[in-house]
């Protein structure tokens, strides 16, 4: 079973960047909503009292604290859409791309202790794990291990 990401890589540059908000709320329902610019972005304010670059807004009366985030270095943000999940040959189509988005927290200044920030550390950890090991380093390690065994015995 496989899913094809059905788009040409060259398409990426032609797309207009999308505006994304990462909201700290579960929303039941998908699709077109109100005019976000008019009803949400309009109320975004700088809040220097919470720190550099911190933004405030509110969602249904609940205070939000946020900041601009960019997609991790070496990555591109893509929004993909599955047209029909019931098909035998599943496909994802490209909706748009983004390099920045606004990360919102409910009532908490975004910081390194947020789950999202910690998840990004995993990207670097995964990279370290994927790093190929050289033949010489491997031989060296096995030699050391043999020596340690002899000393113990």
């Amino acid at each position: 079973m496989s899913i094809t990401l059905d788009f040409d890589v060259q398409q990426l540059d032609n797309k207009r960047p999308m505006h994304l908000h990462y909201l700290p709320a579960k929303i039941v329902g998908d699709g077109e909503c109100t005019d976000v610019d008019k009803h949400f972005n309009n109320y975004t304010r700088q809040a220097p009292e919470f720190g550099n670059g911190v933004l405030t807004n509110a969602l249904r009366g609940y205070p939000l604290l946020g900041q601009q985030e960019s997609v991790p270095k070496g990555y591109k943000g893509l929004v993909l859409q599955e047209t029909d999940p019931n098909q035998a040959e599943r496909q994802l189509r490209l909706t748009g791309t983004f390099q920045n988005f606004t990360y919102w927290n409910y009532d908490k200044v975004p910081s390194k202790s947020d789950g999202y920030q910690q998840a990004l550390v995993m990207l670097d950890v995964a990279e370290a794990l994927a790093e190929p090991v050289s033949e010489e380093a491997l031989e060296e390690e096995m030699k050391l291990q043999k020596q340690a065994k002899k000393e113990n015995a």
């Binding site: 929303i27 591109k76 995964a126």
Partner: protein, 340 residues
């Protein structure tokens, strides 16, 4: 009557409307895709999400492939209450899908251990044994010869190459991988100790004491991370190979060292104050007997001052004793409810 009618008619339009709406805007997903997958060389070739057996999970998982040679893992980040706002659209799926680099040798390791621990086999013949085609695809397309050389003995005969699983090489290879992970965890200042800590607290504390950072905690965390890609028994083997004590043992050690006062830490026999308990046992032996400590930690516990924990336990047992004495001769409560 009238009310009832409106109730039953009201939900009617909904089931018709809902599927229509869904058809218009099908579920969208937010991806972080690595730049090296997005290099435009050959426009006709598409990236694909495929399922391969994931040894750590014990079941197939999603991976992203490109050009029939690049492979990356598809990680999913989600919080319980998150959603995306994409331009003017709500996306209830608050997950972010990230591609992370992956050494396909880790995936091949499972198949090598399964089939090639006794005899050398060619990659094609391993795949024949397996029931699905994904193993064949994984081993022939994405696993590199250089990677396999790190975990197996290679024997070439003419055009055919045979592999035999080599445990020593594999463990040494995994050790090097684990060290690489340790280096990153340290560089990123990830807190690997036991228990949770506030990020802010750690930061300010660091200026005062750097000895908070325990080498073994980093190694354990890294080993656990590497272990997420290994069969469970190989993970255990690696833990033993790296001589990582179990977490419970470490907890006990940390506890006993935390109990020591700083002035007492250097001088093991300095502590002469032993609080006598009612039955004449001193606190150190009490602690030793209370199974809080392993027997080999006995030396350590002598130096540690008595803790409230064992004392509390004693009063509890006395209370229990009194209760037991009072309850002597009385019927068990269960006997009242027995069928006669």
């Amino acid at each position: 009557m009238n009310k009832k009618a409106t109730r039953s008619t009201k939900p009617k339009p909904d089931p018709d409307a809902a599927p229509q709406k869904q058809a218009v805007c099908a579920v969208k997903k937010v991806f972080f895709i690595a730049d090296n997958l997005l290099q435009a060389e050959d426009g006709a070739d598409r990236m694909r999400l495929e399922r391969f057996y994931h040894p750590g999970k014990g079941q197939p998982a999603w991976f992203i492939t490109h050009h029939d040679c690049q492979i990356m893992e598809m990680l999913e980040y989600g919080e319980p209450r998150r959603s995306w706002l994409l331009n003017n659209e709500v996306c209830s799926n608050g997950r972010t899908y990230m591609t992370t680099p992956l050494d396909a040798t880790l995936l091949a390791l499972h198949h090598l251990r399964k089939h090639c621990s006794q005899r050398a086999m060619s990659l094609d013949s391993i795949s024949v044994d397996a029931s699905d085609a994904s193993t064949n695809r994984l081993l022939t397309k994405f696993v590199t010869a250089a990677g396999l050389k790190c975990v197996a003995d290679v024997k070439a005969s003419g055009d055919l190459v045979f592999y035999k699983y080599n445990p020593q090489r594999t463990l040494a290879w995994l050790t090097l991988k684990t060290r690489g992970v340790v280096a990153v965890l340290k560089a990123k200042q990830v807190h690997c100790g036991l228990g949770a800590k506030s990020q802010n607290y750690v930061r300010s504390e660091k200026l005062v004491s750097e000895n908070d950072v325990n080498e073994m905690d980093y190694l354990r965390m890294a080993c656990d991370y590497v272990g997420r890609y290994l069969d469970a028994d190989l993970h255990e083997e690696l833990t033993r190979y790296l001589q990582i004590p179990s977490e419970i043992q470490a907890l006990v050690e940390e506890k006993s060292s935390a109990q020591k006062r700083k002035s007492q830490q250097g001088q093991p026999s300095a502590n002469s104050k032993k609080i006598k308990l009612a039955n004449g046992e001193d606190a150190a032996s009490q602690l030793r007997n209370s199974s809080l400590l392993d027997s080999d930690d006995g030396k350590d516990s002598i130096t540690s001052p008595p803790t409230p924990a064992p004392l509390k336990e004693r009063t509890m047992t006395a209370k229990e004793k009194a209760l037991a004495k009072g309850a002597k001769g009385s019927k068990s409560i269960a006997s009242f409810f027995k069928a006669k």
